[in-house]
Symmetry: C2
Subunit: 531 residues, 2 copies
């Protein structure tokens, strides 16, 4: 997530073609980094009725997680920014390396899943207005696979190899009448013709024979038919012609040549597999490094990253926490950091752009950074581009400023605080919870805060009611705070808990509306999900 600030140059490593070249440089940068900042861009935020229905001010952490999982995971994370920060003791500066990747689930082959994702016009329109380059995503976005998808693809390869080598699940057993390799009547002439052509090939001086393009079923039949002959010195392979039609090529080879070809093919397949895993390798490298990962308002970034590149996020919040900690053992959310002690009092606007502006002023100090010559820096404002790589960079700067500020409280004060400092531990693994009134963060490595909600009422009413009707209704009970749930219900927080019972009593005989305590609401909710 994060904001879209005035532009400032361009990061290395976008585009599928450059990816292979960028990956080793990225892995090196990750390995040497003190910490890594990340940022993602999505095709949308919520497919639910409204963003505020998605983020009710009195959601429990479990409710919020379930809503995000249900209404946000069908969007595509299609730009991923990553900036590594390494502190250079001698110069007292941070060396930064920024990367900006476009990702897109390009179908890998004919059997790979055809991914569907949702776009939300407001999100797309916002990115478009910022000059986002959609062509880069769709034309040269880097593909990716989850662990599970990679295993499936690997199995597919192995199965196919097995079939070709004649020891796969399908074997040539001409006499078994229920055999899967039974040749249907309408295919017999076709197969007979192929067999004759192969006989010819074996007799004549040609080295190979290209059959006509045919269907997958026919190719399977051909493989099965020729299976027993492979030892006689035939290599059978499926190729594609210019028109993308698949045909079978049969070549005469000796045993050694055949083995060589098969090895080559295996290598090619391994390469293909690596390409298909694509961007997921970046996430695996970051995960493997165990380094501190910093983001701004990063809950959705983390959810999408895991969902797309590791595996579907689990149904239960506790399971999600476990998975997250196994992928990213240490997280810091700069929005949460800026919202709590000791920053809360001196930072008033925590949106990334405003935060960055605030953190270059007193009492904070703008960190000194430098980037290697072969990385384009984000310090010039040369291009009208807004990138996740830039946001990741800015997020890292914010983190450093705040970390160093903590050092000023030490005796003697320290102007540099390492990313591994104990001073940062209170901020670890707490992800900012947007617009929850009384729970500032999701605690990723333990149970969540459980604030008292004794002063909260759950109110249902006719859909004609407006906020002012609720103010009206509760006018006798002091100041209130309204959190809309949908158009016929809302939470109303009273300022004094002792008014709760009086409000409920007064409502007993009301016909148009109904009031319950928060505890009653939770109970009836529990019941309805259990049945």
């Amino acid at each position: 997530m994060g904001f879209r600030a005035p532009p400032a140059g361009r990061a290395a490593g976008s585009g599928s073609a450059h990816f292979k070249e960028a990956l080793p440089r990225l892995c090196e940068a990750v390995e040497e980094a003190d910490f890594i900042a990340i940022d993602g861009e999505f095709t949308g935020i919520s497919d639910g009725p409204s963003v505020s229905a998605l983020t009710n001010g009195l959601d429990t952490p479990e409710e919020r997680y379930c809503k995000l999982r249900k209404h946000s995971m069908n969007f595509l994370l299609f730009q991923f920014g990553l900036c590594t920060f390494k502190y250079d003791q001698n110069q007292s500066i941070y060396i930064t390396k920024a990367f900006n990747f476009y990702v897109f689930p390009k179908p890998f082959n004919r059997t790979s899943p055809d991914i569907k994702f949702i776009c939300q016009s407001s999100s797309i329109d916002f990115l478009a207005s910022q000059g986002f380059d959609f062509n880069k995503v769709f034309r040269s976005g880097i593909p990716y696979l989850t662990q599970e998808e990679e295993s499936q693809l690997r199995e597919q390869y192995e199965e196919r190899r097995g079939q070709i080598n004649g020891n796969g699940p399908i074997t040539y057993t001409p006499n078994s009448s229920m055999s899967v390799s039974h040749i249907p009547e309408d295919q017999r002439a076709f197969i007979k013709n192929v067999e004759e052509k192969v006989e010819d090939l074996l007799k004549n001086s040609e080295k190979s024979l290209d059959l006509e393009p045919c269907t997958g079923f026919q190719r399977k039949l051909i493989y099965q038919t020729l299976n027993s002959r492979q030892s006689k010195g035939l290599h059978v392979e499926t190729l594609e012609n210019d028109k993308k039609e698949r045909f079978i090529q049969i070549s005469k080879v000796d045993d050694e040549e055949r083995r060589r070809r098969e090895q080559q093919k295996q290598q090619r397949e391994q390469e293909e597999l690596n390409d298909a895993v694509g961007f997921s390798r970046v996430i695996r490298a970051v995960s493997k490094s165990g380094k501190l990962v910093v983001g701004h308002n990063m809950l959705l970034d983390v959810m999408h990253t895991i969902h797309q590149f590791c595996g579907p996020v689990p149904e239960e919040l506790d399971d999600f926490k476990e998975v997250t900690m196994s992928v990213f053992p240490r997280l810091v959310d700069t929005k949460l950091m800026a919202s709590i002690q000791p920053f809360k009092e001196i930072i008033h606007n925590t949106s990334l752009g405003e935060l960055h502006k605030r953190l270059i002023e007193k009492p904070f100090k703008s960190p000194k950074t430098e980037c290697p010559v072969d990385f384009q820096s984000y310090n010039t404002s040369s291009e009208q581009l807004h990138e996740a790589g830039y946001d990741a960079y800015i997020t890292g700067l914010c983190f450093i400023s705040m970390a160093n500020y903590l050092g000023t409280f030490l005796t003697p004060p320290k102007s540099h605080i390492s990313a591994r400092s104990k001073l940062l531990e209170p901020f670890y693994n707490k992800l900012f919870l947007m617009r929850v009134i009384d729970i500032p963060y999701l605690n990723m490595c333990g149970p969540d805060l459980q604030p008292k909600r004794d002063h909260v009422l759950y109110v249902t009413f006719p859909k004609e009611w407006k906020t002012c009707d609720l103010y009206q209704l509760f006018s006798a009970f002091g100041n209130i705070q309204v959190s809309w749930i949908d158009d016929t219900s809302a939470f109303v927080s009273l300022s004094q808990t002792d008014q709760v019972q009086i409000a409920i009593n007064t409502s007993r005989y009301a016909e148009s509306y109904r009031i319950q305590t928060y505890a009653e609401y939770l109970q009836s909710r529990q019941k309805s999900t259990n049945t």
Copy 2:
């Protein structure tokens, strides 16, 4: 739909900025046209499990329509091509005007619906590989509204105007205690402050007063409070500052000035409304003209066009037919035309590209066309662009070739057949049905064909079964044709109807599979949808 052929220039009228300028030219072209060819590009085809599950060879027309409605309408039609054809008697040529529009549901204002649409990676990847320019869609796509959405927006405007003029649904009735305009306690100081400022304004020599930006609720309260004062010579208006924050401006005006301003505003709103209706005005112009509309394999084009620009397509096929005929009273599908008499025998491949190639060879004649100088023509192969406008143009050419061919059967033969000729009537309003074995088309202006399906069996079996298992199972009953439904069921068509009963009898005691007649299948399906 349609194919993506080698590129050939560029059509007029893309981009939101040019749209206003293109629209009158388009309307003129439509008015003078003999017929209009159209083509659309979508972000996907099917969100179901597989395309072939979406298009079973033995779907009934109703089933097919329901599947397409359910699994295809959430994709976005985001490029619309239109080419008008007008015959010039003197020169014996067609004058063509091609238009190519990018459309995108850009949110119009803060209350307009935030459209979500699905993208299918294979479709996106295909368009990307053809050089499709996604930035043009997302950055400068033309917005659109359905009739219903336009009415809603118009009402919104009127309601707001009513409120401001003090005769809207919300009126200022200070003594009614349940009034919606009740000012909540925490807003009283704010409103009091505004009232004081206004008093000042009325006394001092300033012409106007800008209030601080505030919430929508506060603005509503301000409007209500100031309502009764408007006659005292105040004009109240909501404006936006540079930061896109909304604030209220209060100006001193005399009655005439106030009326002038309100008129201006009304005009501005009408303009805004027209802009919001946007691309839908193209469809309305085509519809209003009542002209013949030609497409290639156009069922999905028609469905998407109606769904996006007129109103959600109805649940029932019969209702869809009715709506379609009211929007486009005369349709011709060139794919269907090429698939039936007298073209069937001499045209073997009906995909748009191949059809076009075939139709410039004997016995067909390539039609002569010309396009006005201010329209870029599609005859040069200058640019690597593939556009819906080009496909529409090619579709029109195919239609002309086939129409003229019909003229060669007349005595004396005619080399030109008008788009209004009686010879074309057999092809009217029949839309090609993809991959249905025994129903070539959807009859848009009457009941559909009801082929006998006595020779069809509905078979269910374990999901391990393959096509060859089915061949095996039915090997005693002659040749069969398999239409997969899902991985545990399929239709099997026998070549001889008299084998049906025998097959069913044989299956009576089978445990792993089950056979029903097609009639039984329809019956049990009916039952399950009725309950």
